[in-house]
């Protein structure tokens, strides 16, 4: 199976293309919903969009986040302990999309979607103005009902590729994706690292060779230097743990400041989108 990822009607692809038109990579900022509160997530999402983030990724706190390191685990565990309910993610998405032009994606482990019902979940996400889903534990092989629902409601489906992915899997994952393809920079879980792995650049090249037009890199990206390094070869740079630490330690102002700093790495025309 070969072919490019789909982009028709894709909000995520459009946001990446706007950045590209400015001669730079896109910045994608992640925060989990409900940490420290639903309103804080909305405010922080808006702050990210106004300080240079082109796409906002809102995570659903989940009891068994196997792809997350300790910082994000601590945040999402706290959100659940504080009474976070999955349906409030739609309020977060609606709140951010109402105030900004950023594309808002939801990052979720798959069981909360199964529990709510894949079609229902997709419908409510679309109604809230969401762009689509990033699915860390759903591979295209198991995604038949999500393919159907995302087509029905015009949602992006961002699957992951990894340094361990075979050429065949790169091709089938690219073909199943819409919006962009998420390349994990390292074999590991989320968390700040001192250096960006050098396997990421090769993975981006391989994913492009498999047909992808938009490849964004995440995992271990935590400062403007990392952003600059990745922006040189990828279409977008995804930052998570560093922003979660920022909201933990300094609230929304710290998220705004860090986003501004990160966006300075989006060479060459380091302009913040709004």
């Amino acid at each position: 199976m070969t072919g490019t990822e789909q982009s028709t009607g894709s909000k995520a692809a459009a946001a990446i293309d706007r950045a590209r038109a400015q001669g730079r990579a896109a910045l994608i900022g992640y925060l989990p919903a409900g940490y420290p509160s639903v309103q804080a997530t909305i405010d922080a999402g808006i702050a990210m969009a106004r300080n240079g983030a082109d796409l906002i990724e809102i995570g659903i706190p989940y009891s068994d986040p196997v792809m997350d390191g300790s910082v994000i685990q601590a945040a999402t565990t706290q959100a659940i302990a504080d009474g976070f309910r999955v349906a409030s993610v739609f309020d977060v998405v609606a709140g951010i999309t109402a105030a900004t032009d950023a594309a808002v994606l939801v990052m979720t482990y798959w069981n909360p979607v199964v529990r709510l019902g894949v079609d229902d979940f997709a419908r409510r996400l679309a109604e809230a103005g969401g762009a689509g889903l990033i699915t860390p534990d759903l591979i295209p092989d198991e995604a038949a009902d999500w393919m159907e629902a995302s087509d029905k409601y015009g949602l992006d489906r961002v699957f992951l590729v990894a340094p361990s992915s075979t050429p065949q899997r790169l091709a089938s994952t690219v073909a199943a994706s819409r919006g962009f393809v998420y390349a994990v920079s390292i074999m590991g879980v989320t968390g700040a690292r001192t250096a960006v792995s050098n396997v990421a650049e090769k993975l981006v090249a391989d994913t492009r060779a498999a047909g992808a037009e938009r490849v964004c890199v995440g995992l271990g990206v935590s400062n403007a230097d990392h952003v600059r390094e990745i922006a040189a070869y990828a279409d977008g740079v995804i930052v998570g743990t560093a922003l979660v630490a920022a909201i933990r330690d300094g609230g929304v102002p710290a998220v705004a400041a860090l986003t501004k700093e990160l966006s300075s790495g989006l060479a060459p025309a380091a302009k913040g989108g709004a």
């Binding site: 300790s70 685990q73 909360p112 529990r115 709510l116 759903l138 899997r169 879980v189």
Partner: protein, 444 residues
């Protein structure tokens, strides 16, 4: 917020339609290869691990067809684990089960004291075949951790065991046992600090170290090929039991009983009898303090389908799809998921799944000690308690059941559970060190 009893489980469905169709069509329920068991199973895993799962599946399929591998397993089973394990008639215990003849499949007599050794030896050999030098494992009470450390020591592999921090305190002796065997034990402080969180941390380790490391999953759950592969290494239980019961009684049993956590010992013994329609199969889940209490691990009885740890199966979850913490006096059954093949066998009605409470299990535990001189694992005591119910129901239906035969898979021995039992039955002197620890709120 926990789901109320669901009609979707089909556990009490007496009509075994699809199962009988299988049998009438001369199709076998045995050797189901995965990745799917009806709508269950699959690979709900991060892409980062898919290549490793593919490699494992490929290695496993080749090994199954390799006479050298088969001979290696047979040799280890015989000369290291001590197989075949006995089939022992429990005559005095049987008097409490309506008068049926109860036979115990003695997995408790295996090296390391439970059925777990069958699977760890097989997987550790596969790890060597893949050129991996390190194995990781999760453990609740420590049985699978001890078995994994044992296999790693035998085959010269590095071994790291993830164990909930709470469990490392409750099972300090098993932690010492693993360390004696050369394993590193990592206390897990994330989430609920129990078995499911130990699995999460093992998966995180695996993602980061997959080049050198095999994840030696301890039960017939998880992503394909684990459910079918773990069953394969435990099929010897059912095959031996079937031959032994035919030899000792001249006929097939009326029923086979096993306890279910993830379901590895059960699927191993059921395998031998799945295609014998006259043999009723019973899986006994941990009912904890009672299924109405909300504090239990009766996944099939009260759960609903979802995805966790790589497979679609029944799952204890709340209205948001968050995994609900399970509760059982038996750490080995204290898991909010269950293997996907069991979910399928429940749906088609081939196996009946029922909950057994902590109290029922402990009564059966004591009864076996006193009638047979065998101290069973508390896990296995759930199967014993279930067999008593099955025998009494058969007696109520048929009257004379003196020729009826019921096999119980005695999956492990209870030496590890002596402290828990001593506390449960209040056998400790108030001045003993153990009782002092108990007063401080520690489960022994």
């Amino acid at each position: 917020m926990v789901d109320s009893p669901s009609v979707t489980s089909g556990t009490n469905d007496e009509t075994a339609g699809p199962a009988e169709a299988f049998l009438e069509g001369k199709e076998s329920l045995r050797h189901a290869s995965g990745p799917y068991f009806g709508p269950y199973g699959g690979r709900w895993m991060p892409e980062s691990l898919i290549a490793a799962l593919d490699e494992l599946e490929d290695t496993f399929e080749k090994a199954k067809a390799d006479p050298e591998f088969i001979a290696q397993i047979a040799d280890l089973n015989k000369n290291y684990s001590g197989r075949p394990s006995l089939l022992t008639e429990a005559k005095r215990f049987s008097q409490h089960a309506g008068g049926v003849r109860i036979f115990l499949k003695r997995e408790d007599l295996n090296h390391t004291g439970s059925h777990k050794i069958n699977n760890v030896l097989g997987q550790a050999l596969l790890a060597k075949r893949m050129g991996k030098t390190r194995v990781i494992a999760e453990t609740g009470a420590g049985q699978h951790g001890v078995a994994s450390a044992t296999a790693a020591a035998l085959l010269g592999l590095e071994c790291v065991v993830y164990m909930g921090a709470e469990d490392t305190r409750r099972q300090a002796l098993n932690v010492a046992r693993m360390k004696l065997l050369g394993a590193e034990v990592v206390p897990v402080t994330n989430g609920s600090q129990t078995l499911k969180d130990a699995i999460n941390d093992a998966l995180r380790d695996w993602v980061a170290n997959v080049d050198t490391t095999h994840y030696l999953l301890g039960t017939a759950a998880g992503a394909h090929p684990f459910p079918a592969m773990v069953r394969y290494f435990h099929e010897v239980i059912g095959e031996e039991a079937r031959a032994q019961v035919l030899e000792q009684t001249g006929k097939l049993p009326d029923a086979v009983c096993a306890c279910i956590g993830g379901g590895s010992n059960a699927i191993g013994i059921f395998h031998g009898f799945l295609d014998d329609p006259s043999v009723k199969l019973y899986g006994f889940e941990a009912g904890g303090e009672g299924v109405e209490s909300g504090r239990h691990a009766a996944t099939i009885t009260l759960g609903r389908p979802g995805v966790l740890h790589g497979a679609r199966s029944y799952l204890m979850q709340d209205e948001d799809g968050q995994t609900v913490e399970s509760h059982s006096i038996s750490a080995g059954l204290d898991y909010p998921g269950v293997g996907p093949e069991h979910a399928y066998l429940a749906d088609i009605g081939r196996v009946s799944y029922e909950p057994i409470t902590d109290a029922e299990a402990m009564d059966a535990f004591r009864l076996l000690c006193r009638t047979e001189g065998i101290i069973p694992a508390i896990e296995s005591s759930h199967a014993l308690a279930g067999a008593i119910k099955v025998g009494q129901r058969m007696a109520a239906e048929r009257g004379d059941v003196s020729d009826a035969v019921v096999i119980v898979n005695l999956s492990g021995r209870g030496d590890k559970d002596v402290a828990t039992a001593a506390e449960w039955f209040d056998l400790l002197d108030d001045n003993s060190a153990e009782a002092e620890i108990g007063k401080e709120g520690e489960q022994l």
